[in-house]
Symmetry: C3
Subunit: 138 residues, 3 copies
């Protein structure tokens, strides 16, 4: 059986990191399915999905990491062509990836205690984002 749900999340952009674990957990539980995989997917080209131990130290460490490997202040071909100023946002999003598959059993996603699912919004302004949870299970 397949169930597709989505949520909307308000972000502040600029590498805003938002814990969406609770929404994933609830959506899987509400599906009534026992075992399977939930695909967490974001259909925006300046966002990414991954996991992290969600605590303020690591939230700032991740931001610093992305600033180190794909800095905001260097020239981007995207910015030259389109003037959006978010070339770094696109590069970071392509790197992190927009999709994450998480198995679940007994209606509970298999995550570590210190492992939360996060949306990272790399865009350079506040945005409303839609995240899709597609559950394939039985």
């Amino acid at each position: 059986m397949i169930s597709t749900q989505s949520i909307r999340v308000q972000t502040r952009g600029n590498c805003d990191i938002i814990d969406i674990t609770h929404q994933v957990t609830e959506t899987v539980r509400d599906s009534g399915l026992n075992t399977g995989t939930v695909t967490v997917f974001v259909a925006h080209s300046t966002c990414g999905i991954t996991t992290v131990e969600y605590e303020p130290g690591l939230v700032s460490d991740l931001k610093e990491f992305f600033e180190r490997v794909a800095p905001q202040g260097i020239p981007y071909g995207h910015d030259k062509r389109w003037g959006d100023g978010n070339g770094h946002s696109h590069v970071r999003a392509s790197l992190l990836g927009c999709s994450l598959a998480i198995p679940f059993n007994d209606g509970i996603i298999i995550l570590g205690t210190w492992q939360q699912v996060i949306l990272v919004d790399f865009d350079n302004r506040s945005r409303m984002r839609e995240i899709v949870f597609q559950i394939i299970g039985e």
Copy 2:
């Protein structure tokens, strides 16, 4: 129901970035399935799959990004042992990942307007590549 298809793509290597969105879209539509997930997978150790807004500015930005974090000109243990000269290609491929799961509904993959599916061929020469589309749906 599960359907497995594949396409072959000629690349120029050297971080060649190829938009395969149209092929993913067509394969999902032709499967006749309504809802589910398509896994886009490349079984080559010097390629990766991700999404990006496919325009020339970002294509060059991505290439510069990979050259910055895994440069071609530094020593690689792989090159010392095997003399292929593509150590950087392997490292970049492991970083980006070879697999991407995309949900679809009503036979249409859930992608943003500015979000295309790309194959990146990191190898240091022209190659023929096979990409697998496996669709699980109903």
Copy 3:
């Protein structure tokens, strides 16, 4: 049909890279399923899953790559708050990702000859790790 299995792997931490291809292959074969996708998932916030040509040169190249982009010796907010000294481990794990979906056909996973599935344990000490293989197929 869905089958969920897991294995336990002893690691040495510190970017230990372990080839788990054989275990993925065997688990898929033993499931008796013909075609589908296996999701390889690690529920620990300092581990990642990807593919690489598993040979000593690339194993050391990958370690050097992670040391370059998320070095151990720089200050991390996580270390300041919690004193674990593994801030770099968490950042690397979030970057690499904890989940990989691999299609299979005729009971055999679709991997390249030079493409192995690896667990990378970024933690700063030896650990026992559990890896989940969830197979959805028919």
